[in-house]
């Protein structure tokens, strides 16, 4: 007898790369860690790459510093949680500040050029906000992990994005942004200006000077000029970067890659998730399903009258039975209203995704240990559920 696997069960067994994506505050990191743990429990050598996890979750995985490489989750932690995964689980935290430096080191033609860029004051001021560098490096790390041959499955937790596709557009944007043409037109490198530019170029040169002057008037100083010098140095990295960026784009679109859109059942958040999925599909990224966290599962409605005999049977002092029954019925009522709201949200998601939707209920506490991750994993793989 064969039992049909849910899309997520299949993913954990077969995908090489799972990307968890979505807006902030919906439990992406926990979801990524829980899926990775399921991968290891299913016997696949798994790595999870997370960005800025909660400290207690990091501790649960035995991570206590940004190491810049994958670290094995210590066996002792598994043993303590009563687990014995047949394959190893590794975790890696991405240090957002270090990624830009890493990119410079990787692509600079030589160490000297790298040092020149990294010591530039503009670089220091803006390295963490250079559009897309962090996102780009995250994907690049994944490519490294997969190519190392040490892992069967890599789970990538993406940074929260207000504009959901920032993450995917980032490499492309970075390439466009650092296109040399614009900088060179405005602020030519010195060697170019010593050659006779020819009539057409001289004419163009006049327009450029005008623009140049106006920009300086606009800023009231050589701000743009200084910045251009920096961007020129930075963009020297980009031929190598361009080649590797194509490989990364191909990896994100590979058949063995699956994107999970993580969300929560709040109406605005669900709208964003549905919109995100549409954009993924439009751009040819493989959409694997929705994960909806923090769901109020429907409960059997309970009236105070029904609760009273049960409370008496449970040994509650008779004077307390009526007020306690009222209070508890009130709590169940609160919960049911939220469950109604969540049901509408889930219906919206299901309409788009069909069976590729997995629900994780609102849990009593933040997940901060391996046991908690196993529980979340059980929900994700549909081993627990309301039916």
């Amino acid at each position: 007898m064969t039992i049909a696997l849910t899309p997520i069960q299949q993913m954990v067994r077969e995908a090489r790369l799972i990307v968890t994506a979505g807006t902030g505050g919906v439990g992406k990191t926990t979801t990524a860690a829980a899926l990775a743990l399921q991968g290891a429990l299913a016997g696949r050598r798994t790595a999870v790459l997370t960005i800025d996890p909660a400290r207690r979750l990091a501790n649960a995985l035995g991570l206590d510093a940004f190491m810049g490489r994958a670290q094995k989750v210590p066996t002792a932690l598994f043993t303590a949680a009563g687990l014995a995964p047949p394959a190893e689980l590794s975790a890696m935290m991405l240090d957002m500040r270090a990624t830009a430096d890493e990119m410079v080191r990787r692509y600079a033609p030589n160490a000297e050029a790298a040092a020149r860029i990294v010591s530039n004051p503009y670089y220091q001021a803006f390295s963490t906000s250079l559009a897309g560098t962090q996102e780009y490096m995250a994907v690049e790390q994944v490519a490294d992990l997969l190519e190392s041959g040490e892992f069967d499955l890599v789970v990538l937790d993406t940074p929260p994005a207000t504009h959901a596709l920032d993450f995917l557009d980032a490499p492309e944007r970075l390439l466009n942004a650092l296109d040399n043409r614009a900088i060179n037109w405005l602020y030519r490198p010195k060697e170019a200006t010593t050659r006779d530019p020819g009539y057409g170029a001289r004419l163009l040169g006049k327009g450029r000077q005008m623009v140049f002057k106006s920009l300086n008037k606009f800023t009231g100083g050589p701000f743009f000029e200084d910045l251009a010098t920096f961007l020129q140095a930075f963009s020297s990295l980009f031929e190598a970067f361009r080649v590797s960026s194509r490989a990364v784009q191909a990896l994100l679109r590979a058949e063995s890659t699956q994107f999970l859109v993580v969300t929560a059942p709040y109406p605005a958040t669900v709208r964003e998730a549905i919109n995100f999925r549409a954009q993924l599909v439009e751009r040819g990224f493989p959409f694997g399903g929705f994960i909806c966290n923090r769901v109020h599962l429907p409960m059997t409605p309970t009236t105070a009258a029904e609760l009273r005999p049960a409370l008496v049977a449970a040994g509650v002092a008779s004077g307390l039975v009526p007020p306690l029954a009222e209070d508890l019925a009130g709590l169940v009522g609160d919960h049911d209203r939220m469950a109604d709201r969540d049901a509408l949200s889930l219906a919206d998601l299901a309409e788009v995704a069909g069976p590729a939707l997995q629900v994780v209920p609102l849990l009593p506490e933040d997940v901060h240990d391996l046991r908690g991750l196993v529980q979340v994993g059980d929900w994700l793989l549909g081993r627990r559920g309301a039916g």
Partner: protein
């Protein structure tokens, strides 16, 4: 609430827009001409007042209350026209595709334009351009970008001051930085949830904005706090109930009560941790409603008022 330049920030998804709307409603109700600025986002504020999105134009959304969604391209045009004076020069320079591309690649440029525009609203006069005219707004409230991004955002004027020694840009940045660090005019409100990651980020954010950058802080808003229920006796009795068998009448109630109790304990723990910041704290309760609309916003405002001036 006496400050006229109010910024609201926090981690993504914690309810920044809700707190922004709440502060705006309180300010408008106090009779102050109030402008809410959203920064190049899918607008949330007008919807909470039952209105369609305002777009890049200042639009009235309630009595004494206006809103605007500041967009970088419009802000750039406005600012550049102010400095270059002639539309023809502006077109020649900023409508040149190569210049647009260059401006687009300047890190932080968009943020600077958004912040600059908000800054201009703060000093806007009526009639426009008349330095002796009255200030156009009694209060400008900004739904600022989420943390991480937010810190870069607030730091921008300082970065420019450090790198551009003279000129327009320096003077503008100086004006912005003076405003951002002026305790008489400015207040930065922090919004968070009683959960680990948001609390951790709030502690770090406070260290950066207040301790390191010297920005004047407003209140700390702890959102989604599970409201207390029942009496001391019923709560104790609920906590003492033995676990009922699955599927019995009591099991749903028992489970819900247990979730509530654990969430409450967690909120109490995090509130105590946040109290170490010494900021005035406002708790906003979880609202057990299907829809979050203007009515719910007003209930939250009432809840905030019981804890002091919003």
């Amino acid at each position: 609430m006496d400050r006229r330049f109010v910024l609201v920030t926090g981690k993504g998804g914690v309810g920044k827009s809700t707190v922004t709307a709440l502060l705006a409603a309180a300010s408008a109700a106090a009779g102050r001409r109030t402008l809410v600025c959203e920064l190049n986002t899918q607008e949330r504020i007008p919807g909470l007042f039952g209105r369609a999105p305002s777009g890049p134009r200042v639009t009235s959304i309630a009595e004494n209350l206006w809103s605007v969604n500041i967009e970088p391209a419009a802000a750039l045009e406005e600012y550049a026209l102010m400095k270059l004076r002639f539309k023809a020069v502006y077109s020649l320079v900023f409508e040149n595709p190569l210049v647009q591309r260059f401006v687009g690649m300047v890190p932080g440029m968009n943020d600077l334009l958004l912040l600059g525009k908000a800054f201009n609203h703060e000093r806007e006069r009526v009639p426009p351009g008349d330095d002796r005219g009255r200030l156009a707004w009694d209060c400008v409230i900004i739904d600022a970008p989420a943390t991480g991004h937010g810190v870069t955002f607030f730091r921008l004027p300082k970065v420019i001051l450090e790198h551009v020694p003279v000129g327009n840009m320096h003077d503008e940045a100086k004006g912005m930085w003076d405003l951002l660090t002026d305790p008489a005019r400015t207040a930065v409100h922090l919004v968070t949830l009683p959960e680990e990651l948001p609390v951790q980020e709030t502690l770090e954010l406070h260290a950066t904005l207040s301790t390191q950058l010297g920005m004047p802080m407003g209140a700390l808003w702890l959102n989604q706090v599970p409201p207390t229920w029942g009496t001391a006796e019923t709560r104790a009795a609920a906590a003492a109930l033995p676990r009922p068998a699955e599927g019995t009448a009591l099991s749903a109630a028992w489970t819900v009560a247990q979730i509530r109790r654990q969430r409450e304990a967690q909120a109490t723990r995090y509130a105590a941790q946040l109290a170490s910041l010494g900021m005035p704290m406002r708790h906003l309760p979880v609202m057990y409603r299907r829809d979050f609309d203007h009515g719910v916003l007003m209930e939250l405002l009432a809840a905030a008022r019981t804890q002091g001036t919003p």
